[in-house]
């Protein structure tokens, strides 16, 4: 089977796709295809045409998804699954054209089982819409990415999403109990803990759930999920504290995470460059005094009495480090805004201070607490070098988020503004080189290239074999075995290589 796709699909392929999804749900017009070529992360807009799919299909059921993939296998055409298109590692960006499989029509909310605290939903449902319905039952699905209003359940599975309040409730891998999954050859299987759809821990058979999460569409498509639900929290507490230096804020965030407060949902460390960026452009921080150079925020969710007790403990801990509470207005407003970062219009500055339109990109890694200062220093140096060479890049500072309640490791990100309209091959190459450097710093400090977004974008993807070592060979073997035709999202994670070896 060829690993290459034709630039336009043969009439025979289009005919078969039309037979599966109906004429209304097969889109070949230019706008429909152009709009599904990219995600919100910086994109080589000067090379847009390289990423445009040949056709878009919007199947309405698991059976239709499976039938589309079987058609693709018969004709050797790539399939790229797409949900909300909010991922930041290009999982939904076609590298070989082909069929763009958009799951947004799978937006049903099925059985809500209040006895076991679970529900069944289609891959095209957003967490916000789901929680509007669950709220009527006093229930809550606590998967909370920065794209909360617009990302979809299927994408959360395909990318193994990270949640802002994951230190309390776990991340997508913990909250999705099982899902229907269409394999790269078109068979439909249930993936979960053992065979029961609502089981949270099984020791029966291989533990496959995590294998079929976070594969960025290279191992098939999730179409329907069974989710674990929680009671809707009675109370929220989201304090923001100011510090005069990064080191004190860094020590405070560890103390908060290790305080063992049961309702602790997360803590975030903002570094000095992030504060400088906020003071420049964020209404909450523009009036803050110059001695505010680092920030920490935290969030608690749960029963009101328990949150109140935890709040007192965290407030005392922060005060013991000399923190200044920023007040209810900033604390509550800024925390609420963190559920919806994709709605924020973005601009950056040239070195002369002029405002220019920039898209937001964050390089993320999983880093242990002790390594955060060293990684921070090296990452800023890499981005400073980029900015010194081109006004296309702007350093927007760094965050470090607790990934787990004990603060064992942190989703660490450096936010970089990129002036996309000014990108060309030279500047794009600068960016890709910088991404490799950023990834290597993370690995060099015992971390992982990504805690959240994935690592299959141009640049850092070259470093994945260095990170995974022998496990990368296992990954190649799995891909080759499950997707013999290299149909699913070909080119991602450098996995084409295994098929090229076959040809040789």
């Amino acid at each position: 089977m060829s690993t290459l796709a034709a630039r336009s699909l043969a009439d025979e392929v289009l005919h078969e796709l039309r037979e599966v999804v109906g004429d209304e749900h097969l889109l070949v017009d230019k706008p429909a295809r152009m709009h599904r070529a990219r995600v919100p992360a910086p994109f080589p807009v000067h090379r847009w045409a390289r990423h445009v799919p040949d056709a878009v299909v919007l199947p309405g059921s698991t059976e239709e998804v499976a039938a589309v993939i079987r058609v693709a296998n018969r004709f050797g055409v790539p399939v790229v699954p797409r949900c909300g298109g909010t991922g930041l590692t290009d999982g939904a960006v076609p590298l070989r054209h082909g069929i763009l499989l958009d799951v947004k029509r799978l937006q049903f909310i099925g059985e809500i089982d209040t006895e076991s605290g679970t529900c069944v939903v289609g891959a095209g449902v957003s967490m916000l819409k789901l929680n509007e319905v669950l709220g009527r039952h006093g229930l809550f699905y606590p998967d909370d990415p920065a794209s909360y209003p617009c990302s979809l359940i299927g994408g959360r599975i395909g990318t193994s999403g990270w949640s802002l309040i994951g230190s309390r409730y776990g991340h997508t891998r913990d909250l999705v109990l099982s899902f229907l999954h269409v394999l790269p050859t078109g068979e439909v299987v249930r993936i979960g803990e053992g065979g029961g759809p609502r089981i949270s821990k099984s020791s029966s058979g291989y533990q496959m759930k995590q294998l079929f999460m976070g594969h960025q569409g290279t191992l098939g498509v999730a179409t329907e999920a069974t989710l674990k639900l929680y009671p809707k929290p009675e109370a929220e507490f989201s304090p923001f504290w100011a510090f005069e230096d990064y080191d004190t804020a860094w020590r405070t965030v560890r103390a908060l995470a290790q305080a063992d407060v049961a309702t602790f949902a997360g803590a975030v460390l903002f570094d000095e460059q992030k504060v400088a960026y906020l003071r420049r452009d964020d209404e909450a921080y523009i009036p803050q005094p110059e001695n505010l150079r680092a920030l920490v925020c935290s969030a608690l969710y749960g029963n009101e009495d328990e949150v109140t007790v935890g709040a007192r403990r965290l407030m005392r801990i922060a005060r013991s480090f000399g923190a200044r509470y920023l007040g209810d207005e900033i604390s509550q407003g800024d925390w609420a805004a963190r559920h919806d970062r994709y709605a924020t219009p973005l601009h950056g500055r040239t070195t002369a201070g002029q405002v220019v339109p920039m898209s937001w990109h964050c390089e993320d890694a999983a880093i242990n607490w002790s390594q955060l200062p060293a990684v921070r220093e090296q990452w800023h140096r890499i981005v400073a070098d980029l900015r010194a060479r081109s006004d296309v890049f702007d350093d927007w500072g760094m965050f470090a988020y607790t990934s787990a309640r004990t603060g064992v490791d942190y989703l660490t990100e450096i936010d970089v503004g990129i002036w996309e309209q000014e990108l060309d091959d030279e500047r794009w190459a600068m960016w890709v080189d910088a991404k490799r450097e950023i990834a290597r710093v993370a690995i060099g400090h015992g971390g992982s290239i990504s805690a959240c977004h994935g690592s299959c974008r141009e640049g850092e993807v070259d470093v994945v074999p260095e990170e995974l070592g022998g496990a990368y060979e296992v990954m190649r073997t799995i891909k080759r075995s499950l997707d013999p035709g290299n149909i699913m999202n070909p080119g991602k994670y450098g996995l084409d290589g295994v098929y090229e070896e076959d040809l040789r």
């Binding site: 929680n131 929220e236 452009d281 109140t308 509550q332 609420a336």
Partner: protein, 92 residues
């Protein structure tokens, strides 16, 4: 804004209040609404907004954030209240 309710005077809407400087890079025309200093908007000029639209966008943002709190939890615990309780407890 007009002091006459239920009236609309275009002239009142297209002329914003005078700007006052709030930092090296921002100005403020409406209370609580920061704007980038126009001197820094030469490459991408600020599009004109009628006054009512500027206020609508700012208030809409506040509404959205309040909605988000209600969406995630039934009540929000005040940090200022917690601090006051700690202070009272320490004094006691």
């Amino acid at each position: 804004m007009s002091e006459r309710p239920f009236s609309y005077r275009r002239g009142e809407q297209v002329v914003p209040p005078p700007a006052r400087r709030t930092s090296e890079v921002t100005v403020m025309r409406f209370d609580g609404i920061y704007e980038v200093d126009p001197r820094l908007m030469r490459q991408v000029p600020q599009q004109p907004f009628p006054n009512w639209d500027t206020l609508r966008i700012a208030h809409g943002r506040e509404d959205h954030l309040a909605w988000m709190h209600r969406h995630f939890a039934r009540a929000v615990i005040s940090g200022e209240r917690i601090l006051a309780e700690i202070a009272a407890s320490d004094e006691g």
